[in-house]
């Protein structure tokens, strides 16, 4: 469960007040909204990379407003990907599991499995420099999926994929959501993607710096 209560976020001269959002546990929520409205900023607040001006954020019922990003156990796929320039694709997929001291065979199995679904198995040994846009995006997606986070925050995770690859990724994401019961917050600009994937769809808008989060039915 993700709960944002009366939050104010700010970045430089930008600020957004009165954000209220609630995603139930296990739910697959899709967020849409005009470009520049503050979707990325909200996601960064949830995962702990940005501090709230005011208000609270709860994950799985626990108030995490003052927790550090490392403690929130959130899988985050940033819009700018932010891959690690010195690592190979395999190291990206292993990264979170290594930190959690997952044992080697299990780790290998999981990496292979995810790489397979995302169709990046041939890239595993490659450094991330030189990856194509869609390849890099799938690496960033894979990196956030491996360690069983309690919440997944996906910031336009499929925008650079061709129709077929995107379809496979969509299926996988729903599959993971269904099997592990992870709560997902997925930002996209593609209405059909929202339509096909979401349990619940939100549309964020704002007026004079006051947010309004509408549920689309």
């Amino acid at each position: 469960m993700i709960e944002i209560e009366d939050a104010t976020i700010a970045a430089g001269s930008f600020s957004l007040r009165a954000i209220n959002l609630r995603v139930e546990t296990g739910e697959y929520a899709v967020v849409m909204g005009k470009t520049g409205i503050g979707k990325t900023t909200i996601l960064e607040s949830i995962c702990g990379l940005r501090k709230l001006r005011s208000g609270t954020i709860k994950i799985a019922g626990v108030d995490v407003t003052r927790w550090s990003a490392a403690d929130r156990n959130v899988g985050y796929v940033p819009q700018d990907l932010a891959l690690f320039p010195t690592m190979t694709v395999r190291q990206h997929l292993q990264f979170a599991m290594r930190l959690r001291k997952t044992d080697a065979t299990k780790m290998k199995q999981r990496v292979d499995e995810i790489a397979d679904i995302l169709q990046i198995s041939p890239l595993l040994g490659r450094n991330v420099r030189g990856l194509s846009g869609g390849e890099a995006q799938r690496v960033a997606l894979g990196r956030a999926l491996t360690f069983g986070p309690s919440v997944l925050l996906l910031d336009e995770p499929l925008s650079a994929l061709d129709a077929a690859t995107r379809q496979a990724a969509q299926t996988m994401l729903r599959e993971i959501n269904r099997q592990t019961g992870v709560t997902v917050l997925h930002v996209t600009h593609d209405p059909s993607e929202a339509q096909s994937m979401a349990d619940r769809r939100f549309c964020i808008a704002s007026e004079d710096g006051v947010a309004s989060v509408q549920v689309i039915r």
Partner: protein
């Protein structure tokens, strides 16, 4: 719409290359000329003669050892310090940022003197903390640990370290300044402690800077002279490093021997620095 290859742009590229090369050449030429002037001034026999002297061989070994230790120590300190200065905002940051440059600014003789004063005069603060005390660092080291610094090899390393580290810190600071912290942030969301984010994400991106900082520290330690002379003395076979040898040769009017030893140092530096860079470049691929 017609497409024409604009000659003037290629010309301006060539002009740019020439300007860059021309400006750079000022400095490169100065150094090359200095070296050639030195080379013409000495002779191969001088060079060989210098290499054969046992005191110079001993100085060579001490120089190699001490420079390497000083460079490794510098890198060991400079990397976390440079990282802290580039990434964290903490009280006293601006002060520390300035303090770091002080060993660069202090005239060499004074740096050596300061070390002497620190080790042999009553220790700073000790009089305030324990009135009447006359605690001296060197005395204490000697009495409790049986370890002597002044006029021994530890003094050589300490003197080299004090200056080399300052340059290494500046270099690492610039390096981390230019590395986008975004990747480290995202690593944090994956569960990294700050230490892990530094070790796994920031450090591997900084390798070029670390090679540069290491080589600059090593080179600086090699060229170091004033502080060593004052703090470590120049006892043959004990604290004599090559820069001291040069001074000693110069003091008895052996100009060509001094120049020969300097060229030996230059040769040594070229070998070590090229090897270091080569290893560094190897690591990167």
């Amino acid at each position: 719409m017609t497409l024409q290859r604009t000659r003037f742009r290629r010309l301006r590229d060539v002009v740019f290359y020439f300007v860059v090369a021309g400006l750079s050449a000022n400095f490169i030429l100065l150094i090359v000329l200095l070296l050639v002037a030195d080379l013409l001034f000495t002779s191969p026999t001088e060079f060989i003669a210098a290499l054969k002297k046992p005191e110079i061989q001993s100085a060579f070994r001490l120089t190699m050892t001490s420079c390497t230790i000083a460079a490794v120590l510098s890198l060991w300190i400079a990397t976390p310090l440079g990282y802290a200065l580039a990434r964290y905002r903490f009280p006293g940051r601006a002060v520390i940022d300035t303090i770091v440059d002080i060993p660069i600014v202090l005239p060499p003789l004074v740096l050596g003197l300061s070390l002497l004063i620190l080790f042999h005069q009553p220790f700073p603060f000790s009089q305030w903390l324990f009135p009447g005390s006359d605690w001296r660092l060197e005395t204490w080291l000697q009495e409790s640990l049986g370890f002597q610094v002044t006029f021994r090899w530890p003094a050589v390393i300490l003197a080299q370290f004090a200056v080399a580290c300052a340059f290494a810190v500046r270099t690492m600071r610039v390096t981390f300044d230019q590395i986008d912290p975004r990747a480290e942030d995202v690593a944090r969301t994956l569960g990294c402690t700050r230490g892990q984010a530094f070790l796994y994400v920031a450090l591997p991106q900084a390798w070029r800077g670390m090679i540069a900082a290491g080589t600059i520290a090593w080179a600086r330690a090699l060229g170091e002279f004033g502080p060593i002379l004052v703090f470590a003395g120049s006892t043959r076979f004990r604290t004599e490093v090559l820069s001291t040898t040069v001074f000693l040769e110069l003091s008895v009017g052996q100009l060509d021997a001094a120049v020969a030893v300097s060229l030996l140092m230059v040769a040594m530096a070229i070998i070590v620095l090229v090897t270091l860079r080569w290893i560094g470049a190897g690591l990167s691929t």
